[in-house]
């Protein structure tokens, strides 16, 4: 297995190189450029722009620019934003904690809810609980997430009012109210709606997945053996079925890791959350190439890494794969 993993890890490197080249080429092919915002201003003439282009190295041929970018990348220098001149890593450093906070909390909420619900749903198959859960899960997977976010704002911000302050029940954006920076409860209040929006789909997927995984496990022979041996039902489930049902879920979790970083573009846009997703969106609009390359590459690295992790975990727990 060590060989298998080593091989897979080595394969990751050319993978990432190819991805970086494709994305770089894509960006250059996109019309418009970071200097276009100056074009409509008559006080700037072409000579100024030429100087700026030189400064940004926009006149070099594409392969040269790519190599320059790789060169600085090796020194862990992702360059400076074209728009704000800040170092890219600094910009990411400002946005990343916000995204992590949001995504990690949503993730925990998802796990806390979907695991017990999925298990109970499987145990009590065909009960009313099961039917309700399955229906809601279906709906949750089918609802367009951005529409759901808009609905949440309409209902919880415009229509419903808080009984004690008379203001909206939940805020429609931002990470915290002004002056409430360290306030834990204010932070939670602001996170409530975005997390609801994010976790609906997530919970639906995980619940259904866990449910079917549990069902498969429960119907296996060794469970019947355990039952036949006379163990109490709850123990049977918890000790024998659950760990095995959870294994595929672990791989699912591993595969979801990049999302913790890349954030959710829709959620951050609708709820004015200053995170990675919105950073990408804004940078795409303004053609801020250094930021875009950095975000895409880091996400790609995470994806590759999480795939490796998922494979690793999978191989770890399933001996059939290890020796197969």
């Amino acid at each position: 297995m060590g060989n298998y993993l080593a091989r897979r890890s080595l394969q990751a490197i050319p993978l990432l190189i190819i991805i970086s080249m494709v994305v770089f080429a894509l960006l250059q092919a996109t019309p418009g450029g970071p200097l276009a915002r100056f074009e409509n201003d008559p006080t700037i003439n072409e000579a100024d722009l030429k100087a700026l282009r030189q400064k940004y190295g926009l006149d070099d041929p594409i392969p040269v620019r790519y190599l320059k970018w790789v060169g600085s990348l090796v020194r862990l220098d992702f360059g400076n934003s074209y728009i704000t001149q800040q170092p890219v890593l600094e910009i990411i450093g400002e946005r990343l904690p916000n995204t992590l906070r949001l995504m990690a909390t949503a993730f925990i909420v998802t796990l806390l809810l979907s695991i017990p619900i999925g298990i109970i749903s499987a145990i009590k198959q065909y009960s009313i609980f099961d039917h309700v859960v399955t229906s809601i899960a279906f709906a949750g997977q089918s609802i367009p997430i951005f529409w759901f976010g808009l609905l949440l704002i309409i209902v919880f911000y415009s229509k419903l009012k808080s009984p004690w302050s008379g203001g909206p029940l939940f805020p429609a954006g931002g990470i915290y109210s002004l002056d409430q920076q360290g306030n834990f409860w204010d932070g939670l209040w602001h996170m409530f709606l975005p997390i609801t929006m994010l976790s609906l789909a997530w919970i639906s997927w995980y619940t259904r997945f866990l449910r079917s995984s549990m069902l498969e496990t429960i119907n296996q022979d060794y469970i019947r053996t355990a039952r036949a041996k006379g163990l109490r039902e709850i123990w049977t489930i918890l000790k024998h079925a659950f760990p095995n049902a959870v294994i595929p879920l672990i791989t699912l979790i591993a595969l979801d890791l990049p999302t913790l970083f890349a954030g959710a573009v829709y959620t951050e846009t609708i709820f004015s959350w200053p995170g990675m997703g919105r950073l990408f969106f804004q940078s795409a609009m303004r053609r801020d190439y250094p930021v875009l390359m950095a975000v895409v590459m880091i996400t790609a690295v995470l994806i590759v890494f999480s795939n490796l992790l998922a494979d690793f975990v999978y191989a770890l727990v399933d001996p059939r794969i290890r020796y197969g």
Binding site: E39, P42, I44, D48, I91
Partner: protein, 585 residues
């Protein structure tokens, strides 16, 4: 068993990690930099001086995105100027009537008071002696010279260097006198430092792109920079060293970033914010219904117009010849103008929140009266028929039969390109397409991003290359329209290889009489004479139908009634008079 336990451990590790991450709150980065040598923190607590009340209260201003930078010489973004105007100050500034008032200068230089030489090539600025920077160091002529060095340095990344192209030298005669020498008369000499004076402590002029100043500016203005949490808000605090006692009355200005317009409206209605910048015109009934909010509008600079390409597109030649097969014929252009009911657009679509204009000279001292065309689809149809455009196959779109430049059978189909993310623009385009369908003209509307529409010559942007049919966007002249008019209407300003792609004569319009008038106006110091020339020019431009003028936006913002002392100005950003604002509790 080993595997199961290791799985469980992994599981708990993940949960623990996530919990740890949640506990971390967002880092408030970009707080006041160490470079600011203020001893005491900028006071938001009252520090009363001798019977003058301390600044109090906070005004929240809603914006849709972060500014790109706060250095006035590195950006042309309108949003940035709203913010840095409260921090950095110019030498003189036009008030809401367009008359220049001294700010950091003691008086406005004119030929009458001798500060401007007779031929206009030498301007002397006498600076105020009582001004200090917010870090308590004195403001001197050296700072003005420094600003010139940074702004005109081609390597610095400055976007204003061409505004200094006529400047020969800037010298500090003494600590409070600066002499600016020009190679020839510069009609906008008063605006030379309009973007503000930079402190000489900001850094090396050649290195301006990397200054700390760009994210932590320092100025002489009523407010100073306090903190900037990217994506969330930017805070300015009252400058305790501001030269006017008792001002500003407000302790803090917070620019809060809220991308969603809906949410901004809600926040205004809840009283969570006091100013909303540039609210969409569709919101007027919201403000009217709310007694606590009032919309304050003045005529704006930006005029929305159609740019018709008079030359052949996509022929590899950015010059004015050969003529556009459809739009080369001025009768077709006029017919298009007659086929658009501009009054309906202004009244029914924009609900009267914009004003119809007919020439680029639409406001201020140079406002000209060029009579508008009526909405006359019947005449338009007749004109098109006469020009050789007939609908023979009954599909509602005309084809050429004996047209001036188009081969027979060419469809009267044109593409119209505007920019995205601007609702009113998009709606206007769609309405115009609908109207022109009536007279047999087919308009294909598509919008591209601003950064693409306004691409550069080096990028071979369609606008620069003359590879388009009709463009729709807004632009306008400032208080001194000469540069703008020359750029857009001089025949030598058609972007071609010959002039390196400079110039904004995108319609490729050539008219020697117009050229004469423009050049004459550039040499005329007297404003009344210049206006006469402009008005002549305005009529010629209108009659050429190379640009079809639609309407002028109103400049304005929504203010909470708690704010008074503010005056919205066509000629200056929101915060130009922020030292005079007061906030009622």
């Amino acid at each position: 068993m080993f595997q199961k336990r290791s799985i469980q451990t992994l599981f708990y590790l993940i949960i623990a990690l996530s919990l740890a991450l949640t506990a971390c709150g967002p880092a408030a980065t970009s707080t006041a930099p160490p470079a600011q040598p203020t001893k005491a923190p900028p006071s938001t607590e009252p520090t009363a001086t001798e019977g003058v009340p301390a600044p109090s209260g906070r005004v929240v201003i809603l914006v849709s995105e972060d500014p790109d930078t706060l250095n006035p010489y590195l950006t042309t973004a309108l949003l940035a100027s709203q913010i840095y105007t409260a921090v950095t100050e110019p030498l003189v500034q036009p008030d809401q009537n367009g008359e220049y008032q001294p700010v950091l200068a003691e008086r406005v230089p004119t030929t009458k008071n001798g500060d401007v030489s007779a031929d206009g090539t030498e301007v002397t600025w006498h600076l105020r002696k009582d001004v200090v920077w917010s870090d308590n160091t004195p403001f001197t002529a050296a700072d003005v010279v420094f600003t010139y060095k940074a702004a005109s340095n081609a390597d610095s990344g400055s976007v204003r260097s061409s505004a200094f192209s006529k400047v020969v030298s800037v010298e500090a005669v003494d600590d409070y006198t600066v002499v600016v020498k020009y190679s020839e008369f510069n009609s906008s000499f008063l605006d030379q430092f309009q973007w503000g004076i930079l402190p000489s402590s900001a850094g090396d002029p050649a290195d301006m792109l990397n200054w700390d100043f760009n994210r932590h500016p320092m100025g002489t203005g009523p407010f100073m920079f306090k903190e900037w949490v990217t994506g969330d808000h930017l805070t300015l605090a009252a400058n305790p060293n501001y030269r006017e006692q008792g001002k500003p009355a407000i302790a803090e200005l917070v620019f809060q970033v809220v991308p969603s317009e809906e949410v901004r409206v809600q926040m205004m209605q809840q009283g969570d914010a006091q100013i909303m910048m540039w609210p969409g015109s569709n919101l007027r009934d919201v403000w009217e219904a709310d007694p606590n909010i009032q919309l304050e509008l003045v005529p704006g600079i930006y005029i929305l117009r159609m740019f018709l390409n008079l030359s052949m597109p996509n022929d590899g030649d950015p010059g004015p010849t050969p003529p556009h097969p459809i739009l080369g014929d001025e009768n077709v252009r006029k017919a298009i103008a007659l086929g658009i009911d501009v009054n309906s657009i202004v009244n029914d679509l924009a609900l009267g929140r914009v004003t119809r204009v007919t020439s680029p000279f639409a406001l201020g001292w140079y406002k000209c009266d060029v009579p508008p065309d009526p909405y006359d689809p019947e005449t338009a149809k007749a004109m098109l028929e006469k020009a050789g455009w007939v609908d023979t196959n009954g599909d509602g779109i005309r084809e050429a039969h004996g047209a001036k430049y188009a081969p027979d059978g060419t469809k009267l189909s044109l593409s119209m390109v505007g920019y995205t993310d601007f609702k009113l623009l998009e709606q206007t385009e769609l309405v115009m397409a609908d109207m022109l369908k009536e007279i047999g003209v087919d308009l294909q509307v598509s919008n591209v991003e601003m950064s693409v529409l306004f691409g550069s010559w080096a990028d071979k942007a369609p606008r620069k290359m003359g590879d388009f049919d009709i463009l729709v966007y807004d632009t306008g002249a400032g208080i001194n329209p000469q540069t703008h008019i020359a750029d857009y209407f001089l025949s030598t300003n058609i972007p071609t290889d010959a002039n390196g792609g400079t110039g904004a004569n995108y319609t490729r319009w050539v008219n020697p009489q117009a050229d004469d008038l423009i050049n004459q106006a550039g040499r005329t110091p007297d404003l009344a004479d210049r206006k006469a020339l402009y008005c002549q020019l305005g009529q010629i431009i209108h009659d050429s139908y190379s640009q079809i003028f639609l309407y002028q936006f109103q400049e304005g913002h929504a203010f909470s009634t708690r704010i008074s002392g503010n005056q919205v100005s066509t000629w200056a950003p929101l915060t130009w008079d922020v030292e005079n604002w007061t906030l009622a509790p």
